[in-house]
Symmetry: C2
Subunit: 335 residues, 2 copies
């Protein structure tokens, strides 16, 4: 048995190409005193990964050239060298990266229970994307009953949870997604009040159709033109949560700034950025609440699971083409 690892080979310009990474096969590492060896089952694919590949100051250091590609993951402890907390058979979620085995002292990992929820959920709705949605819409968006909420990337891992939480809290929710299938899913399966298919409908016209009263809270995962259009339709004291800007991540030209930002002045609006790590001390609270909603059937979680670490590149591309449905996950476990 060997450990397959995906290393960052070079810094991409624009949309990463296949040779951005290289696969290496090495012996399975041995845990030192106080460490565990985790056999990874699933790794998480997130738009934020694109940003971590840039050599730029950001909220975490960039991935170094030659380092394992950073990724959230979940797996099973298969060896423990006197780890004070974790033992063989425990399931842990953390930053295992795109590789099949990882050795860690356990910092940044937390134990999960595969009997309570399927493992992939711990890197999806009960993991970073879910936490991002929870704290983003509640703490930054500060939604109140009867407000209107617009979310972009609405069929994605974060957006789909944002919209459902807003529904649970009594808001009117409209999602922006690409393609009729995703839009139908938002309305029929997730209970959204409306959906705008940005690939087939002018977003401005779509907003007029679905939210003629205007937007109280806009949860932005995409940036670009859609952010600008949303800004032009905000209500008084609106909040705009800046969670991501997937439309801009592969730009080779400067990021498009929101020309309509003066709508914040006219409407006394607030635009605020958020990073989920700031809420780490409250993950447990959120996970418990989300778990309860899942069990009650109030929250639905969809995972789009692909197989094989060899298929990382093709799967990663789906983040940006939108050719996915729900949380994108790669199974790296081999039988």
């Amino acid at each position: 048995m060997q450990n397959k690892q995906l290393l960052l080979a070079k810094r991409p310009v624009g949309m990463p190409e296949k040779d951005t990474w290289k696969m290496e096969t090495s012996p399975i590492p041995e845990p030192e005193e106080g460490e565990v060896l985790i056999r990874q089952h699933y790794i998480s694919l997130d738009p934020a990964m694109r940003g971590w590949m840039n050599d730029a100051k950001s909220y975490i250091p960039p991935i170094g050239i030659g380092e394992v590609m950073r990724a959230g993951s979940v797996g099973e402890v298969v060896k423990s060298n006197n780890h004070p907390q974790y033992k063989v058979g425990d399931y842990l979620s953390g930053w295992g990266g795109v590789q099949q085995y990882v050795v860690t002292d356990g910092k940044g990992y937390f134990k999960v229970d595969p009997n309570l929820a399927p493992l992939p959920l711990y890197i999806g709705t009960l993991g970073m994307p879910g936490m991002t949605a929870y704290f983003g819409i509640l703490e930054v968006g500060k939604i109140r009953e009867d407000e209107t909420v617009l979310v972009s990337g609405a069929a994605g891992a974060v957006g789909s949870i944002v919209g459902q939480i807003a529904k649970i809290k009594g808001c009117k929710v409209v999602g922006i997604a690409g393609g009729p299938e995703k839009c139908k899913y938002l309305i029929d399966q997730l209970g959204f009040d409306g959906a705008i298919d940005y690939k087939n409908e002018d977003v401005r016209a779509g907003l007029k159709r679905t939210l003629p009263e205007g937007i109280d809270v806009y949860f932005d995962n995409v940036g670009g033109e859609i952010l600008d259009t949303a800004l032009s339709k905000i209500r008084m004291n609106a909040r705009i949560v800046i969670c991501g800007a997937i439309s801009q991540y592969n730009n080779t030209t400067p990021v498009k700034g929101p020309s309509n930002y003066l709508s914040l002045l006219v409407n006394r609006g607030t635009m605020q950025g958020m990073i989920v790590f700031d809420y780490a001390d409250r993950y447990m609270e959120a996970a418990q609440q989300m778990g309860q909603w899942l069990m009650e059937g109030k929250l639905k979680s969809k995972e789009d699971i692909h197989e094989g670490i060899e298929n990382f590149y093709e799967t990663f591309q789906r983040l940006f083409t939108g050719d996915k449905m729900g949380k994108l996950i790669l199974k790296v476990l081999e039988d």
Copy 2:
């Protein structure tokens, strides 16, 4: 005696030209029952006036073609037709517009005392610009002791007060202004810790020189490139107060959106728009505090007073050329 009034003649495109307005002379109006006639002394010139001339949805209706040009003003009651509150000899400040006499029922006006402060101050530091500065930096900027504050338009009516309040509250304050004279004024007269002359120094380099530790609060009066540069230098949890965007008001092309807005995400920053009218119920509190600071010498107020309603156009232009120092005021009273 006649009443000279300046009417909006057409909607300007870009920088208004002289024929944007036309002067009319008409008989001095008579107050009806419950009204007063005010002989105006001073009118206020503010960048926001440019926005009011556009036929666009905003925080107040646009000025209609043929209507008196909207402006804040201060003057003396010279006739009262049984007004329940105001009598001849009272001084009132309100929205008298660019004209020498105005008749009003008193709504939106408040009484001022020329013995406590010179009349021009009531449309400057003790009027809208002062209130904007006070609530903008304290309520929206939420400054705390030892934070760093950057303010643009720093030698202007709002910016100069913003910076001085931040100094009073124990912040390190840097102002951006145009020209060495204004920058010297900020440091020597107003006690700013630093100044950046954007006409003669690269703002990015100026920030490195004066605020290498980064920006906690940026009070933005100008928008455009300076906003973008400031965004690139914010610290964690920074607040950006969007008060105006004078660099964009005469644009004939779309407003320049801030390309660096994703700095809000990386740094968990907040960008919030404000309109002073929202704080109307607290003007008294602010005016009393500002009056006290003025008397204690902690706050300095500079007025740039020009004479003659005929000179409105030339004076108005100074708002955008920057050829002024402090609060721009036009004396419309004729002896």
